[in-house]
């Protein structure tokens, strides 16, 4: 079965990419839950995270600093975006808001191009580049970092939403903004928080894959759209759905690229998106319509 022997490798690399899609999908989900809008600028947060971390690293070669600095910087960008682009909106209907986030994504990408140019930059892997054998597949240490940090982040998020007061308040706002207001939760703050949080998630994802895929000004577009597809696939609004969607998408992409044709690799995500929208729009794990 020669054709199937690279299968484990495909699956492993698929899971790595999938983990990034999952992080991005979670970012979409958090904002969707707090505001019911789709923030198409999410992908650009990934890009900004990668490039900021790289710049910080170039100033001072400390990976932990670059990571934290990158996440912090992009969180500020996310908060600024909410404050400047979304809060002042005169007529907050879904159509307008979609267009604004799309415009924001383009704008941020343009700024990035001016700041960093079109060249790719690299970030050294966190713990070296000696491949590790994992049964029939080989995996780079960075891949394990992606999966590991990704898993930790998801667990922390779950704990945050279920166990902390702030997390529960955010969920309350999503279910019933008016009731939440009545009991004293500031929906404005929750929206702010959701933007900051998802920007942080995106940035983390970007910094994690930068050693693998290089940081470049236009990496955010495709990643964002694929992360979005993963979110829809898994069920917008469900964190487990986002994770599932991301991993599934990553593996499907990898398999299709390896077994069928690599040129259509990017099309897999959107094919699955259309499939999800037409067959089960609430996604695999989504409950609400």
């Amino acid at each position: 079965m020669e054709i199937l022997s690279p299968l484990p490798q495909y699956i492993v690399s698929g899971l790595t990419n999938g983990a990034i899609y999952a992080l991005i999908a979670l970012g979409f989900g958090i904002i969707y839950n707090a505001t019911t809008i789709i923030n198409f600028a999410q992908g650009e947060m990934v890009m900004l995270g990668a490039l900021s971390a790289i710049s910080i690293y170039q100033l001072r070669p400390s990976l932990p600093l670059a990571f934290l600095g990158g996440v912090a910087a992009v969180t500020l960008v996310g908060l600024a975006f909410e404050r400047l682009a979304l809060r002042p909106v005169r007529d907050p209907n879904p159509l307008s808001l979609i267009i604004i986030t799309v415009g924001g994504a383009v704008f941020i990408k343009g700024i990035a191009m001016l700041l960093w140019g079109k060249d790719p930059y690299s970030l050294p892997p966190f713990t070296g580049h000696v491949p590790i054998a994992l049964g029939p597949a080989t995996v780079l240490p960075q891949n394990l970092w992606v999966l590991g940090v990704g898993a930790v982040v998801v667990l922390i998020l779950e704990a945050f939403f279920r166990l902390t007061l702030v997390g529960k308040a955010m969920r309350a706002c999503a279910y019933n903004p008016r009731a939440a207001c009545l009991v004293g939760i500031s929906t404005g703050r929750m929206v702010q928080l959701s933007f900051g949080l998802s920007a942080a998630l995106g940035a983390a994802g970007g910094i994690l894959i930068a050693p693998l895929t290089l940081g470049v000004y236009d990496m955010g577009t495709m990643l964002g759209l694929k992360g979005f597809s993963a979110a829809i696939l898994g069920g917008l609004g469900s964190s487990l759905g986002g994770v599932l969607g991301g991993l599934l998408l990553g593996v499907a992409e990898s398999l299709a690229s390896g077994l069928i044709s690599s040129g259509y690799r990017d099309a897999v995500a959107f094919f699955l998106l259309l499939l999800a929208l037409f067959i089960r729009p609430q996604g695999l794990l989504g409950g609400k319509g």
Partner: protein, 322 residues
């Protein structure tokens, strides 16, 4: 009286369109005007969808590309009559729009936006990958010019004589549509979908109809584009172009036929003016899109006109009621 003002506007417009080629000799400017014309056709269709039906297509470049490639491949590779090829393009784009629209519009909200996004990316990738037919990333060359009874539209001036009558026709047709029973139903749908439904308007079917209609306009523009450039490449039909189209609608004003012309004009000329600032093009488009939507959600021109009227109301001491 309204009729007179209406006719005046159109007569003026047609007069200007006729006079321009008499005054302008530069091939560069004529070509620029041709592109404005092609973009106008695209933008009017998208405006009908966004401004009236209240839906958004983030992948309209795909229909533009389908028209272009159908015309390009059928005429360039297979030597089929360009007019037939144009019809084929309409058929293909229209069918694609129908197939996507039926499931996407069954759902409430912005599912059409997402579906068109996905569709747009897939079509772009297909254009790049089906190399034997489309020529892949390096494009498809050797597309012949359109011809009518021996007269070949193969110079910028002749293309102007092809494109701008088409633009006038499309503008007139669209204005007529907006004023008709279907147009009223559309505008009603935009203001209150529930009320429109309660009066017998099948809103789902109407949205689908307008979506397909806008795809047909885009396909027409694509075919004209193919025969203008005699060369097409996938990079002209990417998501950035879809976003540029949305920006043109937004700048010109939603639900405005003339606004479509204005938006297409301004944003086709702008990159030419900014040729020294090419790097800024992306930032500027994104910035325009954001700022206009935040502060003037009905579009730039419409929004400015509204502001002017509002100030006039305030001065006259009137409120909005009574």
């Amino acid at each position: 009286m309204r009729l007179r003002r209406f006719l005046n506007r159109w007569l003026l417009f047609v007069a200007v369109v006729i006079l321009i080629p008499l005054a302008v000799e530069s091939e560069y400017y004529l070509t620029l005007l041709n592109f404005i014309g092609i973009h106008t056709i695209l933008v009017v269709g998208l405006n009908l969808l966004m401004g009236y039906a209240g839906q958004i297509s983030l992948g309209h470049a795909a229909f533009f590309g389908l028209g272009a490639y159908t015309s390009g491949i059928l005429t360039g590779t297979y030597g089929i009559n360009p007019w037939l090829a144009l019809m084929a393009g309409l058929l293909i784009s229209g069918s694609a729009a129908f197939l996507i629209g039926v499931p996407a519009l069954k759902l409430r909200g912005y599912y059409l936006a997402m579906a068109t996004l996905g569709f747009g990316v897939i079509v772009y990738i297909v254009f790049n990958e089906l190399q034997t037919w489309t020529g892949g990333p390096s494009g498809l060359a050797g597309i012949p010019a359109l011809a009518l009874a021996g007269f070949s539209f193969n110079t910028p001036l002749k293309l102007y004589l092809l494109i701008w009558p088409a633009v006038i026709f499309i503008l007139a047709l669209s204005a007529s549509l907006v004023d008709s029973r279907t147009g009223r139903a559309l505008r009603a749908l935009h203001d209150s979908e529930a009320a429109a439904e309660s009066l017998g308007v099948n809103t789902q079917r109407l949205k689908l109809l307008i979506f397909v209609w806008s795809a047909l306009y885009a396909s027409l523009a694509g075919s004209l584009y193919a025969h203008t450039m005699n060369f097409i490449a996938p990079s002209s039909f990417d998501i950035m172009f879809s976003i540029k189209l949305v920006t043109m609608v937004v700048v010109g004003g939603m639900a405005s036929i003339w606004g479509s012309l204005l938006g297409a004009g301004v944003l086709t000329v702008l990159p030419e003016l900014l040729v020294f600032f090419h790097d800024f093009e992306v930032v500027i488009f994104g910035g325009i899109l954001m700022t206009v939507m935040i502060f003037l959600p009905r579009g730039l021109i419409r929004g400015l006109l509204d502001l002017k009227e509002f100030r006039r109301y305030q001065k006259e001491g009137g409120g909005l009621s009574g």
